[in-house]
Structure formats: structure tokens, C-alpha cells
């Protein structure tokens, strides 16, 4: 096992790891605001058109949405487990779990794709083929615009996450990490959990609107 030296500007590996984690949390704070802007738009329009949003919510695919939520929650579990193994230095185990996490991510995206296709089929894509009769047409279109923006931006983050997780899986398999140095895995975990956190809030806002109506 080779000794890893800290980068030039750091006094120790400990400082480097501490600084990296801090940096990642600051980055996650920026992501909260990034998604938050869209949530303000959602809040304004849901507050203005409650019946329209309820109508729109009933058109969302609750089965796919719920399954996807289960997938993401489980993937958070597997990546947290991977970080736990990384703390112990079990490189191969880490790689397997990271691989599983990435696979979950791919399934999530796949289901999302199926869902988008269904929505296209039902003429629910604003600006492209949106068609809806009835008094709530405008409000439903606003809902779906926000739906595609929110899930689209989220999906972009999932994609980035999958790439990161996959790269880390390969590196872990090749023995790049030890129980004294596994910071990149920890940071990747934090990023992935954040992607899950966003979805935890998107789920009720998208799929559970108007279900009791």
C-alpha cells in the first residue's frame, strides 16, 4: 500500500479530506438554491391554480414515480453502504456496491424515459405537442412545463452522478482507495444523496397532487 501525499497547499491528508468535504457541502448549498428557484415558480402557480394543478397531477404516472422513488432511496442505501466499506478499506466490495448504485441510477433514467415517452404520447409536452381541452388547459401546461424542467434538471444531475459513481467504482476495483484515503468516494456519496434528497421533495409535488380529488 503506497503512501498518499497531500497536495502542495495542504499541511496533511486530514486537512485535505476535511477541506474537500467542506467544499462539497458548499457546492450542495448552491444546488439547493438552483432547484429552489424552480420551486418558487411551482409554489406561485400551484397557489394560483390549485384545481388546475390537481388535474395535472392526476395525469402523472404514479406507478413509475413511486418505483423510481424506491429505486433512488435504495441506491442511497447502497452508496452509504459502499462508503461504510470504504472506511474499512474493502476496495472490491466498494466497487461492487458503487456498480449497483450506478445500475440503479440507469434504471431510474430508463423508467423516466418510458414515462416521458408516455407523456409525449398523451400530448402533455408543453411547447411541442401539448393539447388539453377543458378549463384547466393553461394551468396544466404550466404544471407540465415545471414538471419537465424539474425532472429534466434532476435527470441531468442523476446522469452526472452515474458517471461519477461509475468512475469511482472502476478506481475502487483497481485499488485506488485505502481506509486512510477514500475521500472521493465520500464526496461522490454526498452528491448522490443530494440527488436523492431533491427527488424526495419532487415526488409529492409532482405525483401526489390532486390524488384525493
Amino acid at each position: 500500500m503506497h503512501e498518499v501525499a497531500p497536495e502542495e497547499q495542504f499541511a496533511s491528508m486530514e486537512q485535505q479530506a476535511d477541506v474537500a468535504a467542506f467544499g462539497m457541502w458548499v457546492f450542495l448549498a448552491t444546488e439547493v438554491l438552483f432547484f429552489g428557484g424552480m420551486l418558487l415558480a411551482y409554489a406561485v402557480y400551484r397557489g394560483s391554480f390549485p384545481e388546475g394543478f390537481a388535474e395535472a397531477g392526476r395525469h402523472t404516472k404514479i406507478v413509475i414515480g413511486t418505483v423510481n422513488t424506491v429505486i433512488l432511496l435504495t441506491s442511497s442505501f447502497t452508496i452509504a453502504w459502499a462508503v461504510h466499506l470504504a472506511e474499512k478499506g474493502w476496495g472490491r466490495g466498494v466497487a461492487v456496491l458503487l456498480g449497483v448504485t450506478a445500475l440503479f441510477g440507469l434504471v431510474f433514467l430508463g423508467l423516466k424515459g418510458v414515462e416521458y415517452y408516455q407523456e409525449w404520447d398523451e400530448h402533455l409536452v408543453p411547447g411541442l405537442n401539448f393539447q388539453m381541452e377543458g378549463p384547466h388547459g393553461q394551468a396544466v401546461q404550466l404544471f407540465y412545463f415545471l414538471y419537465f424542467m424539474l425532472t429534466g434538471v434532476h435527470g441531468l444531475h442523476v446522469t452526472i452522478g452515474i458517471v461519477l459513481v461509475a468512475v469511482m467504482a472502476v478506481r475502487a476495483w483497481k485499488g485506488a482507495f485505502t481506509k486512510d484515503y477514500y475521500t472521493p468516494i465520500e464526496l461522490t456519496g454526498l452528491y448522490w444523496h443530494f440527488v436523492d434528497l431533491v427527488w424526495i421533495f419532487l415526488y409529492p409535488l409532482i405525483y401526489l397532487v390532486g390524488r384525493s380529488g
Binding site: Q9, G23, T30, L33, F34, G37, M38, G127, L142, F145
Partner: protein
Amino acid sequence: MTAATFTDKPAVSVPSYLMEEGSTLRSWLLTHDHKRIAILYTISITLFFFVGGAAATLIRLNLVTPQGIFEPGTYNRLFSIHGIVMVWFFLIPSIPNTLGNFLLPLMIGAKDLAFPRINLFSWYLFVAAGLLALFAVIAGGVDTGWTFYTPFSTMYSNSYVILAISAVFVSGFSSILTGLNFIVTVHKMRAPGMTWYRLPIFVWSNYSTAIIMVLATPILAITLALLAAERLLRVGIFDPALGGDPLLFQHLFWFYSHPAVYIMILPGFGVISEVIPCFSRKPIFGYKFVAWASVSFTAVSFLVWAHHMFVSGMSLYAGLVFSLLSYVIAVPSAIKVFNWTATLHKGWISFNAPMLYALGFIGLFTTGGLSGLFTANLAADVHVTDTYFVVAHFHYIMVGGMVSAYFAGLHFWWPKITGRLYHEWWARVAALLIFFGFNLTFFPQFILGYLGMERRYYAYPPEFQFWNVLSSAGASILALGYVLPLFYLSWSLVKGQRAGANPWAATGLEWRTSSPPPKHNFDVTPVVTRPPYQYRPEPEPQDA
């Protein structure tokens, strides 16, 4: 007793950061050294300053006569490009990415920022954004104003809106990464003994700026993304005809853009807080007040945005709330101005160029700030909104204030950064030209605004011509003042006298290492034992 565990004059001649990594283009473009990245930024933003300045020149030329010389559509593109370039490609990166990048690690006793590669990436993003912006300008520009208000920008404008906002979007990420780097660096990379209350105010200011960058800019990013999607898909998120609210755009846009104007002044406060003590030979008055006033902006600047929307159609109640909060934000600014003035009191003042700029800053920034009180007043703002009064207000702060501060800092730290002394006489001439030219350009605009001349209009009633001519004349003097430093500063690089480690006998860790510094900043990591600004009693003689 003294903190000197390092020498001012190294026994052996150590290569500086300008030479150590090599002097090939590749070594500069792939550098991780914060000092080289600072220089890369300086060159980039100087280019953009002159692009924005060219637009300003054409604007002032147009306004010499009441009927103008440009088509209205062209004029709209000129002021839009002027705003976009000056805000995102000059002012926001100016002090933080040039002086901040260079000095922050030095001032805290570190070898580099926390994330050097992210720093370089930040510059790459800035260049990419800049190229997009230049492309937008050359392709024909955008005519929405730098504020991109909807539904004009989404539904009606026939200009290159999406290209322009893409440029701004990318520049935003450059900003966020810089902010992230600074925050982490200041928290985690300070030298032993460098407690928070021993930090120079320049560090406190740039740290506060970094927090604003990190928290505000993501909202800009998502707002521009929504704008682009709206323009492409015509869905109505901001269009009343389709059920949307144009004010939603304004709320989101100004939630970023008001804090952004604090990004565009706080670093200037930091520079002034270094220059004034040095050239008064006194510690800054009320250090803790100045420090915490800087930090207070990270919160208060986020609470006032809708004072840009008083006449937009938002509710009167919101107008009252935001007007009240906008008065509150005058307090930290005033604290700083009082403290700088008190620093001058009974000081041993010398009028070197940096000090001339700093003194000019105090006057010009205060004037701009006071005029802000008028605009914060709900009733008065109904009269002056969208007039030249507002234009004068923000130019006094951003140009009279921030640009003066940038020049003050550039001159103050020039010997440290380049190892050369500039020609003091020419520098003072430039400073005076800038001060005089600036006032002649912008004071008439207060009057024009009060008399009712609208902003963003290519033509105006003939009774306004007198003041417009004065303003344009002032602009030509101002332009001369801005061009002069290009010459004498460049000249100094080749022929200027070599500077010692501390030509101003200033305090601060950056003055303890050679001019220019070695790549690793300090031969030995400094240990700090004394508070900042120890000008009384006079510091021990330095090699000058």
C-alpha cells in the same frame, strides 16, 4: 516579539512565480498557481472593460444630439451589450478574480487556494462565457437590456437572446466556483496564529463577496434557464396571455441581481480598507465594526431585491416591506464610510495614486449611496424610476466606487504583483482625470433624471441637450483617464524601477515576501502573533 520567522531579502535569489514554472504559453494556460490565474483574469477582464467601454462611447456619442445618430434598435443593443459586458464580464470578476485570487492566499499565509484546479477551471469557464458573449455581440447583439425582462425577451425580441443568456449562464458557474474556493480557503487554510480578527479587511470583504456569489448566482442560472425554455417553447411561465406572471421573472432575476450589485462593491470596500490605513499610517478605525458590516451584507443584500420593482405592478404591501428593508441596508455602508473617514482623522496622509483613488472612492461612493436613499423611498422612486437618476446612482457606485477601488488596488499592489514601480506622476494625473471626468459625466445625469429624462431612450426632448452634452464631454475625459494606465503600467513592466518587498511600508503578510513572490508564496509558513494594521508605532524599516 516580532512575527518575523522569514526574511525580507532572501539570501539566494529565488525565481518568482513569473519565471519558476517556465514562461511558455502552455505553462500559463495550464497553471495551478493562483497568482498566474489572477494575471490571466486581469488580461481577460481588461479586454472586456474596453468592449463595454466602446459600447459606452457609442451611447454617449448618440446622446450628444436630441435625435441621436443610431437607429433605435441599434441603440437598444448598445446599452444592452454595455450592461451585460460590464456587469458579468468586468465588474463581477474584477477585484475578486484579479486581486482576490492573487492576494487571498498571501494575506492568510497559505501556499495557494484550497482548490487550485477548480480555480483554473473557473477561468476556463470565464473565457468560454466571454467567447459566447463576443459571438453574441458580433452576430448582432441583444436588445433586451442587461435585465432581460419578460415577456419582451421571451416572446417579442428578435435579437440573440439565448446566445447572450448562455454566455451569462456559463459566467455564473465561473463565479460560483470562485466563491466556493474563497469560502473554503478562508475557513481552512489560514496560517498558524491567523485568527479571524487578525485578518485584513480585504479578506473579510472578499469572503463576504464569496458567500453572496455562492448563494445568489444559482438563482440567476435557473432563471435564465427558465427564460430560455420559455423562449424556445412559448409555454407561458412568464407570459400573462398564457397564464404566467412576468413579475415572477423579475422576482427571481432581482433575487440574484441585487446581491450581485454587492458582489460589485464589497471587494472595493476591501481594497479601500487596505489603502486608507496604509496612507494614513493608522490602523483602520473600528476594525470589528467594519469586518462585521461586511459580513452583514451576505444576509441583508438578499432582503431588498424588490426595490427594483416598485412600479412593476407588484403589491403595495410588498413595496412597503422592501422600501423599509432597503433603508436598513444603508446602515452597514454608512458604518464603513464613517470608519474610513475616522481612520483619516489625525493620520499622516500622503497622496500617492492609490490614496487618490481611495479618497475619490469615499466621495463618489457616498454620493452614490446617498442617491440610493432617494430611490429606496417608495414615493420618490415613482418619480425617478427608469430615469437617468437611477443611471447616475448606480454608476456613481459601480464606476465611481468599484472601478476607482479596482484602480486603487491595482496601483497599490502593482509592485507586489509585477515587481515593478509605476510612474507615480502619470498615475496621479490619471486618477485626477478619472475623478474629474467621472463627475462631469455622471452628475449631470442626476439632474437629467430629476428633470424627467428616461433611460434607455435613443432620443430625447431638446431641453435636455445641455446636460447631455456635458455628460458626453465628461465621458471623453473619463475615457482618457482609463486609457492612460494602459500605457504607463505597460511601460513599467519593461522599464519600471524594480520594487522591493514592501515599497509602501505596509502591514500584511503579502508584503513580507518578495516582489514578485515566489511560486510557493513563502519560504517558511508565517506564524502570526499581532493584530492587523500595526501602523502605530511605525513598523520596522523595510527594504524598499
